[in-house]
């Protein structure tokens, strides 16, 4: 019998019930909740008189619309949504890491740092970047509000089994090239719909040598290639990250868990529905030029000419993107000047990301034409960064140092771009208006964003030595 993949092992272990011609009923080990996609689900439970079945496997935080400046929230509609989350969590017995608790943060930063994101689990959240948690060898995917309610009521989901894809990153990552560049290059290669219908497993030497932060960055953006879930087989790096965290097993249970987790990998003879190979030895820092994450070029490249796209649909999309982005075909990426820099989001606002960006800006200053901000991924990341003096490095360099939250990744809070403003952003989506109506977003790594802040334009971070 052929071997099984990591995905298949986790899937099989979570099938509660299966009927022919129907999606499988899958058990959910952890449900993460936030203020934006949950109020209608709680209301649905209330109307039907249903409880949250497993509040002990559920945890909420406030992240999407919280302001990142200190002081009371002034947006009354956002406040009402946060108040609703607080009231709902109390009514249904769901634990909440509220703003000011010291444990709040972007939901996909909070789970791993609490040690409740563990190998072999199924994890869902009403947020498409739930794929982040797959970095720990979990099957983690985003769901809509109706599914949020379904999980609250039953701790299960009806799911059709996805196909499997393996993306193999071979070779050693060159100096100055990061996990963000790996995933942007992968999306550029397979396209923003290349992963639709698949669960992706990332593998290869360049994955094995990555930190957990780097693996999270890659799994996070699986959804930008259309894949609901992305995952990495757990190893010593994974176990070292989890050990000692609040949710981690302790004592003898830890040793048993590590033994169990160590078996969670694709068998050598396992087969995937699709395999993609990417050699990282020639990889360069990436910058997006258009209005989806697949519209990406190396920093030493130029803005593409729509005429060079063979497919008429792609050509029209490129034309529209260039018009929206206010860019001319053929412009070298390093000649594009920027107005704003955003270092933050569930993709790139963990401690390692902030350390890397701080290294680039230490002793330098943000260009006079640029407004730059750093928004840590969680209260704990913020605290840790302040312990290390990173806040001072950023503030001395002219960055704004903010409170934790999703912030300008999606601009639900007051942190938004004005029409026409161009932003170098470490976030995950460069869709039209994503960071503010009319705003122009370029996605890139934290070090590339830091370098752009100093130069006032895109620069190749490798040239800074």
């Amino acid at each position: 019998m052929a071997g099984t993949t990591l995905f298949e092992k986790i899937w099989q272990a979570h099938v509660v019930d299966e009927k022919p011609g129907e999606p499988a009923l899958i058990y959910i080990d952890l449900h993460l909740v936030h203020e934006v996609t949950s109020p209608q689900a709680f209301e649905g439970l209330r109307l039907a008189g249903r409880p949250v079945r497993r509040p002990d496997l559920t945890i909420a935080t406030m992240d999407h619309n919280v302001p990142t400046e200190r002081g009371p929230i002034t947006d009354l509609i956002a406040k009402a949504q946060l108040d609703a989350l607080r009231a709902n969590c109390e009514e249904f017995g769901v634990p909440l890491n509220a703003t000011g608790s010291g444990r709040e943060g972007i939901v996909h930063v909070m789970g791993p740092e609490l040690g409740i994101t563990q190998p072999g689990m199924t994890i869902v959240c009403g947020d498409s970047h739930t794929s982040t948690h797959g970095a720990f060898g979990a099957l983690a995917f985003g769901i809509g509000t109706s599914e949020v309610e379904h999980v609250m009521a039953t701790q299960t989901l009806l799911q059709s089994r996805p196909k499997t894809m393996q993306i193999r990153f071979s070779g050693t990552l060159p100096f100055g090239v990061t996990a963000k560049d790996m995933v942007l290059a992968a999306i550029g290669k397979i396209g923003v719909d290349g992963g639709v219908g698949y669960a992706i497993e990332y593998a290869g030497e360049a994955i094995e040598t990555l930190s957990m932060e780097g693996r999270m960055t890659i799994c996070n953006m699986s959804i930008e290639a259309g894949a609901r879930a992305g995952m990495v087989a757990p190893d010593a790096t994974t176990f070292a990250y989890i050990e000692g965290r609040p949710g981690a097993p302790k004592g003898a249970a830890w040793d048993q868990a590590v033994a169990r987790w160590s078996a969670l990998k694709s068998d050598a003879d396992a087969t995937f529905d699709r395999i993609v190979d990417i050699d990282v030895t020639t990889l360069t820092p990436q910058v997006t030029w258009g209005t989806n994450p697949g519209m990406v070029v190396p920093v030493d490249g130029t803005v593409p000419d729509p005429a060079d796209f063979a497919d008429p649909t792609d050509r029209e999309a490129a034309e529209r993107a260039l018009q929206y982005m206010g860019l001319e075909a053929g412009t070298p990426v390093t000649e594009i000047t920027i107005d704003r820099v955003f270092i933050g989001s569930c993709t790139n606002a963990r401690i390692e990301d902030l350390r890397a960006a701080a290294t680039v800006v230490r002793g330098k200053h943000v260009a006079s034409t640029v407004r730059a901000m750093v928004v840590p991924g969680s209260a704990k990341v913020k605290h840790q960064a302040e312990q290390e003096g990173l806040d001072k490095v950023f503030v001395d360099a002219g960055f704004e140092w903010r409170e934790a939250g999703c912030s300008m990744c999606l601009g639900m809070n007051p942190d938004t771009l004005s029409p026409g403003e161009r932003c170098a952003s470490t976030s995950n989506r460069n869709f039209e208006g994503r960071q503010g109506s009319g705003g122009r977003t370029h996605l890139l790594s934290p070090t590339m964003a830091a370098a752009a802040a100093v130069a006032g334009r895109f620069v190749d971070v490798r040239e800074l030595g």
Binding site: E22, G142, I143, S146, R434
Partner: protein, 197 residues
């Protein structure tokens, strides 16, 4: 959820690829805690453009939307499906969809029909002559008044859900024995309510 058996309507065509859910419903409208009333915000930024497709008088009252590949990509916000439904759409026809949007649509009473490029081209040609289609979710057929008829594949479980307007949660709760048995056999890892700091 409303039943979805048969729709006869003009077809609104937005022939662009990768229409993301940020376009369908921008973030500033996700702060509301209600499930209804999102239709007025559908394609909020694009609606400001005078030549946006949905302003075409021919498309007025359309309950069927025809769009490009990878429709509904990006954010998992179910508000996108709610906005489409509240605006009046019950059927979307496209070459492909994002997985989360497709799932959200079923739960909102919208059918996402996938057609290969060749059949989409036939459909567009017929609609250019006369803009009207009938979609039958019981027989899984699309018919044009000039005679074109296309049958399409559709997930059987999703079809039953849509046609009868079924509630997933009520159906799953009937399987409580299986869920309880699974839980009894699976030891807990942690309790989120009592995590140490």
């Amino acid at each position: 959820m409303r039943e979805l058996r048969q729709v006869t309507s003009v077809v609104a065509i937005i022939d662009r690829p990768d229409i993301d859910t940020d376009q369908i419903i921008p973030k500033q409208f996700l702060k509301r805690i209600e499930r209804t009333g999102y239709g007025q915000f559908l394609f909020y930024d694009w609606m400001k453009e005078p030549d946006f497709e949905l302003h075409k008088p021919d498309f007025k009252g359309a309950e069927i939307l025809l769009a490009g590949r990878n429709f509904g990509c990006g954010s998992s916000r179910e508000h996108a499906a709610w906005a489409l439904e509240d605006y009046g759409f019950r059927i979307v026809i496209a070459p492909s969809y994002s997985d989360i949007f497709r799932s959200n649509s079923v739960k909102t009473g919208i059918a996402t029909i996938t057609l290969p490029d060749a059949e989409l081209a036939q459909l567009k040609a017929a609609l250019a002559q006369r803009n009207e289609l009938t979609v039958d979710m019981e027989t899984l057929t699309i018919t044009h008044p000039d005679g074109l008829a296309i049958t399409f594949a559709f997930d059987e479980f999703a079809q039953e859900t849509l046609v009868h307007g079924l509630d997933d949660i009520a159906r799953t709760l009937k399987r409580d024995d299986a869920i309880a048995a699974y839980e009894a056999a699976t030891p807990g890892r942690f309790d989120t309510r009592t995590l140490s700091t």
